[in-house]
């Protein structure tokens, strides 16, 4: 479900399957094809009807691994997999791979439906297994040296993450079990796909929020530290007298990331938007922690819009994922964090931003 140019957004897939006589000819490239180099057959999602609505363009095909035209550009290894010839997630090129009509899995144009019927469950399985792997590594003390450098606070932090991951897994499995019951009792598969889509969006927002938490510091403090060390101009590292944050470094980073986010591919810009949104928050968040030492500044430590404003700013980092056109995405990217994070009264103005956007872009998408 990942292609080199479009990332993991299947509506951007270009891997094509075209009809030739009674056969289908598959042509295209896929990234991170789990175990393709060990497999006897590969199930490929390829565009069969490019003019259909986005979610009815692709179909599934079963390709025998021995079929002529399947080649590995790289046998990529991810996580701890070997990097040489036996990585488990190859970059696969399908060059005019010919299969009979009987190789199609599920209905024509049903690629999304087939994929969605299964992806949610797979994610929960992964979560449970990865959590257990991490716990084993901790217990075995495999990285004893790394862990010995940890403080007890960090240990406790990891422990609470492991517990919350376990709860997330159990909760997801129960929801999925409930969904499967409803599916069997007669509702259509599409409903399940939609519900899973929402579940995955929520998961991605939670994921992005925790990513934001860890990106707030380094993206802005590194330029500040570099300027204090003399590698960058000194004015960049100046500390804001009122907020006690490196305000200039934060602002410059914000502008740079906005520019980057709007000029790159969808995958990269989604990632960068995760970095962009917390930057304005960064002005204020740390100050709250030192408010005790600066009682006179306590009033300015409040986040605009209060707790809802802060929640809104964090949620905005997941917001651009669902954008449609490039222009709309650019708009959300540039304005989202500003609307939620900088203007006073975050919530009200962000709804204004959404209202403005729907008016502006209604005719485009």
């Amino acid at each position: 479900m990942t292609e080199p140019h479009g990332g993991a957004d299947p509506t951007l897939f270009t891997c094509r399957a075209t009809q030739d006589g009674g056969d289908w000819v598959v042509d295209g490239e896929k990234w991170y094809s789990s175990h393709a180099n060990f497999a006897d057959f590969i199930i490929v999602m390829a565009v069969t009807d490019p003019d259909a609505p986005p979610y009815e363009r692709a179909s599934m095909f079963i390709l025998p691994a021995t079929a002529e035209g399947i080649g590995f550009v790289r046998e990529t290894g991810v996580f701890t997999e070997p990097l040489g010839s036996k990585g488990g997630h190859p970059y696969v090129r399908y060059s005019q791979v010919r299969v009979p009509a009987s190789a199609m899995l599920g209905p024509r144009g049903g690629g999304f439906m087939v994929a969605q019927s299964r992806l949610g469950g797979g994610r929960i399985v992964e979560l449970c297994r990865v959590r257990a792997t991490f716990q084993r590594h901790r217990r075995n003390g495999k990285s004893a040296e790394n862990f010995s450098a940890h403080s007890s606070v960090e240990h406790a932090d990891e422990h609470s993450h492991l517990y919350s991951a376990r709860f997330a897994g159990h909760r997801g499995a129960r929801q999925l079990a409930g969904m499967a019951d409803r599916l069997h009792s007669g509702s259509v598969a599409q409903n399940r796909g939609e519900a899973l889509g929402i579940a995955m969006l929520v998961a991605s927002i939670i994921g992005t929020a925790s990513l934001s938490n860890s990106t707030i510091l380094y993206t802005t403090r590194i330029p500040a530290a570099m300027s204090q060390d003399g590698y960058l101009p000194a004015w960049l590292g100046k500390i804001h007298p009122r907020f006690a944050t490196p305000a200039r470094a934060i602002s410059v980073s914000l502008v740079l990331y906005c520019l980057l986010a709007n000029s790159l591919s969808r995958t990269s810009s989604t990632f960068i938007s995760g970095v962009v949104s917390p930057l304005p928050c960064s002005h204020f968040l740390l100050f709250g922690a030192c408010a005790e030492n600066f009682p006179a500044r306590h009033a300015s430590s409040a986040f605009p819009g209060g707790t809802p404003g802060l929640a809104c700013a964090i949620l905005f980092s997941g917001y651009p994922v669902r954008s449609k056109s490039l222009l709309q995405r650019a708009f959300r990217m540039a304005l989202g964090p500003l609307v939620a994070g900088v203007w006073p009264g975050g919530i009200r103005n962000s709804s204004l931003g959404i209202w403005l956007e729907t008016r502006l872009f209604a005719h485009i998408s």
């Binding site: 175990h35 006897d40 036996k86 009987s102 469950g121 499967a180």
Partner: protein, 137 residues
Amino acid sequence: MIDFELDPEFQAKVDWARRFVRDQVEPLDHLFPDPTAPYDRSLKVARTLLAPLQAEVKRQGLWACHLDKDLGGPDYGQVKFLHINEILGRTNWGPVVFGCQGPDSGNSEILARFGTEEQKERWLKPLLAGDMYSCSR
């Protein structure tokens, strides 16, 4: 509120799986530590060690526990399956020994749900038996 209690019968299965994974499967992780080794059929020694372990799991009725009864699985459903996964995740080899490794587990589900009789005969049967591996993209 999530209830983590299990019925005694399934609790016994979970206890067995925990012991089995610790005593019989974890050693494989030390002998063949690459995360992709369980899928590499050129490792002859590893394959010889793997077969009897898979047979033991089948005897215990825990083979392919992601599957419904009509496909030869124990029909545990997502929640019970998760308790097994929490044990299997401790090792690289666990999922292959228990016949529920990704991406084959998901692929078997979509083959079962959407495949034609011919496709099930050719791909699904050997996949479920552990004689084949697959990939989906």
